[in-house]
Structure formats: structure tokens, C-alpha cells
């Protein structure tokens, strides 16, 4: 009896759901012609109708008594994540790659133009400079972050008092967004450091770093290192704490002290963490946007290959500005595709390196 009632109820639910959904979709299809008349009101709430319809279908399917209940649950459980993921990542990604080969202007596209967009920017001084700046920034930043983070991790795992306070202090910049930190550091570079330099009579620092086209990139490197070092430090700390005390003890007995103990015992034992941290910082530096946007916003300008360009416009910001300041949507999209390819190559190398390491171990 209950079985039959359940079956009937769920069928009715699903049927209502299907009807409402079809109705909502039908209105949506001819929305433009329905701004007046008796369908104007349902047209204005077609979004609610659509969601209600789909919910009814889901409920109907869920309550339907069947031996395949497990399959239904599988589908219903996968649906939200897969739907959101497809809508926000997969479809835009495919569209994006496609748009980069067209004359898309953000709204419509008329022609398929092959590699025109790519040809365009590969020759432009602005892009070449941005590309080189990003490369230099990424490598310098990766090195600095890892060296400082490793140094700090040794410091806070040594026998000093208040280790935990130091750890927390070094870690905290990482929790705050790049935008907010960027504005603070813009102030520090423009007013605080110049003020200190003037007080101490240091001529080379008397002008703000942010006003010097050839050195402004250093400002972003400094802030990025400051923001990121504490985080990487904690990864090293976790690794160092994982080194068995007996190994350290044995090394001490054998006379390995200080520097030797670090390079010969600790470093090889935590080699895995070095790999993780190096790739983590590589990828994150390469994608740097927030600090760049808030500290220099690309400026100051300088001449490069006979053209005025923005001296600190890293690739991520370059894509953003190409799209929203210069309104070149298709070119920006093509640049973004190149950006993706470069990141994908780095990731592939990472997978290859880690796999190789695993085999060796």
C-alpha cells in the first residue's frame, strides 16, 4: 500500500516539476515578446518558476521507490558540484579558447580570424616587456621567498624562547588580502621609507621606489616575499619537525654541527618539501595580481623598444588591462590562453619531477 502511494506521489511531483520547468523554459525562449499581456507576470518570475520546477523533479525522482535508488543518489549527489563546476569553469574555459581565435568584443563575434590575435600581441613591446617582467619577478620571488622562509623555519625550530609567537607573527601577513596589503605598502614606499631615508640622509632611497621605472618591480617583490614567506616557513617547519629526533641526535654525536647539520642532514631529509614549496611559489608568483594592482597598478611608464609602456605590468594585470582599460576582449582572451598554457607546462613539470622523486625513494 505504502509502496503504491509513494510511487503515485513521486510520479505526480515529478510530473508537476516537468510541466513547470517546460513552462518556464518556454517563457524564457520568447521572453522578448512577452513584456506585456497576461504572460508578463509569469515571465517576470520565470527564474523562480524554473528553480521550483527543477526542485520538484528532484524530489519526485528522489522519492520514487526503485531498486536503482543507489544510482539516483549517485546522480543527485554529483549534480550540484558538477553543474556549478561546468557552468563556471568548463563552459567558460571552452568558450574562452574559442573566443581567442575570433574577433569577439565581449558581447558578439562576427568572424573567425585564426591566430590574428596571437600574432598581434606577440610582437608588441608592451607584451614582451610584461612577459619578461613576469619571468624575472617569478624567479626572483620564488628564490627570495624560499630562502627567507627556510631561514625563518630554522630560526623558529631552534631553541629560542617564544617560538610560537614568532611563528604567528611571521605567518599573519599571509592571512590578509593582497589588495589591502598593497595599499598599505604603497603608503610605506611613498612616505615612510622616503621619510626614514631623509632622516638618515641616505640619498639612494630618498626617492620613492614606486616612482623609478626600473626598480618599482622590486617593491612588489619585497611585499610579495613579506606576505608569502611566513606561509612557506610553516610548511618547512612542519617538515623539519617530522625529522626524527634520533637522526638529529646521531648527527650531533658524529660531530655534525650548525651549518653542516642543516645542509647534510636536514635539507636532504626534507627535499620533498623543497619541491612542493618551489612549485607553489612559482605558480603563485606567476599569477600575482592583487599586489600588482594595489601597489603600482602597472606604473610608472617608461620607454621600451621605442614605445611607452607600463614598467610593472605583470601578465595577469596586463590581461586585465587589455580587457577592461583598452577594451580589447579577444586579444586579452588570447593572452589569457597563453597564460594558461605556460601554467600548464609548469604543472606538468611538477608532476614529472614528483613522480621521478617517488621512484627514486
Amino acid at each position: 500500500m505504502i509502496y503504491m502511494a509513494k510511487k503515485k506521489l513521486s510520479t505526480v511531483l515529478a510530473a508537476i516539476g516537468i510541466l513547470v520547468t517546460i513552462f518556464a523554459l518556454w517563457i524564457s525562449l520568447q521572453y522578448r515578446t512577452l513584456t506585456s499581456g497576461f504572460l508578463a507576470w509569469p515571465a517576470s518570475i520565470r527564474g523562480v518558476l524554473l528553480i521550483t520546477g527543477i526542485l520538484f523533479i528532484i524530489l519526485g525522482v528522489y522519492f520514487y521507490p526503485t531498486k536503482k535508488h543507489r544510482t539516483i543518489i549517485n546522480i543527485l549527489f554529483l549534480l550540484p558540484a558538477v553543474l556549478a563546476f561546468t557552468m563556471t569553469v568548463i563552459i567558460p574555459f571552452i568558450l574562452g579558447v574559442f573566443y581567442s581565435f575570433t574577433d569577439w568584443n565581449g558581447i558578439t563575434l562576427n568572424n573567425f580570424i585564426g591566430f590574428e590575435n596571437y600574432k598581434d600581441f606577440f610582437k608588441s613591446p608592451e607584451y614582451i616587456h610584461s612577459f619578461m617582467a613576469t619571468l624575472i619577478f617569478t624567479i626572483l620571488n620564488m628564490l627570495l621567498v624560499n630562502i627567507i622562509a627556510f631561514g625563518l623555519s630554522l630560526l623558529v625550530t631552534s631553541k629560542i624562547r617564544g617560538r610560537n609567537i614568532y611563528r604567528a607573527g611571521f605567518f599573519i601577513p599571509n592571512l590578509i588580502g593582497g589588495i589591502v596589503l598593497g595599499y598599505i605598502w604603497q603608503f610605506i614606499f611613498n612616505y615612510v621609507i622616503t621619510d626614514i631615508a631623509a632622516a638618515m640622509n641616505i640619498k639612494s632611497l630618498s626617492q620613492s621606489l614606486l616612482a623609478l621605472p626600473d626598480r618599482a618591480i622590486l617593491a612588489i617583490i619585497i611585499v610579495s616575499t613579506w606576505q608569502y614567506a611566513g606561509y612557506i616557513m610553516m610548511i618547512y617547519v612542519t617538515a623539519i619537525q617530522g625529522v626524527p629526533a634520533s637522526v638529529i641526535e646521531a648527527a650531533k654525536m658524529d660531530g655534525a654541527h650548525g651549518f653542516k647539520r642543516i645542509t647534510k642532514i636536514i635539507a636532504p631529509l626534507i627535499a620533498n618539501s623543497f619541491t612542493i614549496c618551489i612549485f607553489l611559489t612559482l605558480v603563485n608568483s606567476f599569477k600575482q595580481f592583487d599586489l600588482n594592482y594595489a601597489i603600482t597598478n602597472g606604473g610608472p611608464s617608461k620607454l621600451f623598444m621605442g614605445k611607452a609602456i607600463h614598467s610593472t605590468e605583470l601578465l595577469a594585470l596586463n590581461i586585465y588591462k587589455t580587457a577592461f582599460t583598452r577594451n580589447d576582449m579577444a586579444v586579452a582572451q588570447a593572452k589569457a590562453v597563453v597564460f594558461f598554457v605556460l601554467l600548464a607546462i609548469v604543472s606538468l613539470i611538477q608532476v614529472y619531477v614528483s613522480k621521478k622523486k617517488e621512484v627514486e625513494m
Binding site: 524554473l50 567558460p92 574562452g96 630560526l155 624562547r161 589588495i179 599569477k287 582572451q333
Partner: protein, 285 residues
């Protein structure tokens, strides 16, 4: 003995110096938030003469129409909490299904999620905007400038990494636990909600912290989806729009950054251990 001692003192000195250097920017923010603009420019590193200015500046920033602190704080909180809940729930369900089905389709779906972690936001942001605009116009559900839209987007962008982490964790939960419950007559969804979900608690902490810090501080996605001067504004957007309209008013700008940092700093003081642990574990996985 003495060499060791000197070395110890030196280490402590270096630590203290580095510590002060690392936190100096925060000191500068607090100190200058309670000075007049002219005094800031003249002397940005001294202590202020009058701390009561800090309170005045805070009041001014909180009630400023561009900043609208409480509203922005609430927007940030709503978006973060809703997104986190949705991400954790949707990803747990999906990860569980993907682990417990040893079929070709489950491997393929999982691989797509994992591979998508490489996709940078920049390559999807422009088509995402136009695509969401089209979907909104068609379906009547607004995806841009709305809580629904941005939460939906965060589920999409957060699910890759979250499913990856949860997948690894669920794999280590013995299937016998589920089998026993199934034999006792539990439904599969009952197994998930009553047995698996509670077991996921330790890893959920990692997932919550990783996604939470990201969403709370995110700038680019909300700036594109909500607009810098839209009705809904997260804290990073509010600070940016504030800075944009008060160029060089450093007394107010620094106060606004102070207010924007405060919630996270307070949270960190209380949940330090979990936050550090969560972020480190997320990176290692």
C-alpha cells in the same frame, strides 16, 4: 658554554628584530590611523599625539557611503559563509560518490576536476562574465550582482581543490563501515549523512580554512561579478572603492585598511592553531 650562550642571545636578537620588521607595517597603519593627514605626510613613524583621532577616523570610515563598513562586513560574511557551506556539502557528496564507484565515469569526472586546478582564473573570467549575463537574461535568475550568482561561482571554482582533498581522505575510510550500515537497512543517503559526513570533520576544517581565507580576501572575482560600485560589496571591494574616491587621504585610507584587516586578525588570535594547520595541510596535499 659561553660560545653557545652568545649564539643563543644572538639568535634571539635576530628573531626579535625580524619579528618587529615583519609587523612594522601593521604598526604603521595603527599609528597613522590616529593622525591628521598633514602630520602623516610630515612624520609617518612617530607615535600620534592624540589617540582619540583614531576613534574619529573609525567613525568616519564606518559611516562613509563608499565604505559602509557594517554592510560590507555583512556582505563579506554572508558570501563567505554561504559559499563555504555549499562548497563543503556539494564537494563532500560528489567526492563520496566518486570514491565509492569504481567505474570509468567516476575516474573521468575526478580527473577532470583535478586537471581543472591548473586553469587560472584569468582564462575564464571574460567568457564567464558574458556567459553568466546570457544565462541570467535567458533564465531570469540573476547570476551577476547577486548573492546567488557569486556563491554559485565559488562552488564551481572551489570544488576542484576541495573534491581533490576530500577524495584522498574518503579513500581511507573503510568501506566495511558503510556495508554494515547498509545491511542494517540504512539508505545510501543515510549512510552518507550519518556515517561519512561526521567522519569527515577533521579534513573539513582544512577545507573550510583554505576556502574561507581565499573567499574572504578574493578581489578579482567579486570585482567582476558584483562591480566596484554595486549594491553588494565585499570588504576588499569596499576598500578599493574607498581608496579610489579618497586619493591621498591617507588618514582615512589607512583607517579603512585597519578595519578591513581587523576581522581576520581577531579570528587568527582565537583559531591560530587550526588556521596554520589547515593552510599547511592544504598545501602539502
Amino acid at each position: 658554554m659561553t660560545v653557545k650562550r652568545i649564539r643563543g642571545v644572538l639568535l634571539e636578537l635576530v628573531s626579535i628584530l625580524l619579528f618587529l620588521l615583519f609587523l612594522a607595517p601593521f604598526f604603521i597603519v595603527v599609528v597613522n590611523s590616529s593622525k591628521m593627514n598633514g602630520d602623516i605626510i610630515r612624520d609617518p613613524i612617530s607615535f600620534p599625539l592624540d589617540w582619540s583621532l583614531l576613534w574619529k577616523h573609525i567613525q568616519a570610515v564606518i559611516h562613509n557611503p563608499n565604505m559602509n563598513y557594517w554592510k560590507s562586513f555583512l556582505d563579506s560574511a554572508i558570501i563567505t559563509v554561504l559559499s563555504l557551506t555549499a562548497i563543503v556539502l556539494c564537494s563532500s557528496m560528489a567526492a563520496w560518490v566518486l570514491v565509492r564507484n569504481h567505474k570509468k565515469w567516476s575516474t573521468v569526472i575526478f580527473m577532470i576536476f583535478v586537471a581543472a586546478m591548473v586553469i587560472p582564473f584569468q582564462v575564464v573570467m571574460l567568457p564567464l562574465l558574458s556567459w553568466f549575463r546570457q544565462v541570467s537574461n535567458f533564465s531570469g535568475i540573476s547570476f551577476l550582482s547577486s548573492y546567488t550568482g557569486i556563491v554559485f561561482a565559488y562552488i564551481g571554482f572551489g570544488s576542484s581543490m576541495t573534491i581533490f582533498i576530500l577524495h584522498g581522505f574518503i579513500k581511507n575510510i573503510p568501506y566495511e563501515l558503510e556495508e554494515a550500515a547498509l545491511i542494517d537497512g540504512s539508505s545510501p543517503e543515510g549512510v552518507f549523512f550519518r556515517i561519512i559526513l561526521p567522519l569527515l570533520k577533521p579534513v573539513q576544517m582544512t577545507v573550510l580554512i583554505l576556502n574561507g581565507i581565499w573567499i574572504w580576501n578574493d578581489f578579482l572575482l567579486p570585482s567582476l561579478m558584483l562591480g566596484l560600485n554595486g549594491k553588494i560589496k565585499t570588504l576588499p571591494l569596499a576598500v578599493t572603492s574607498f581608496v579610489g574616491s579618497y586619493v591621498k587621504q591617507w588618514d582615512l585610507i589607512l583607517t579603512s585598511t585597519l578595519l578591513a584587516m581587523l576581522p581576520v586578525v581577531i579570528l587568527f588570535l582565537f583559531a591560530q592553531k587550526y588556521i596554520i594547520k589547515g593552510m599547511v595541510e592544504g598545501a602539502i596535499k
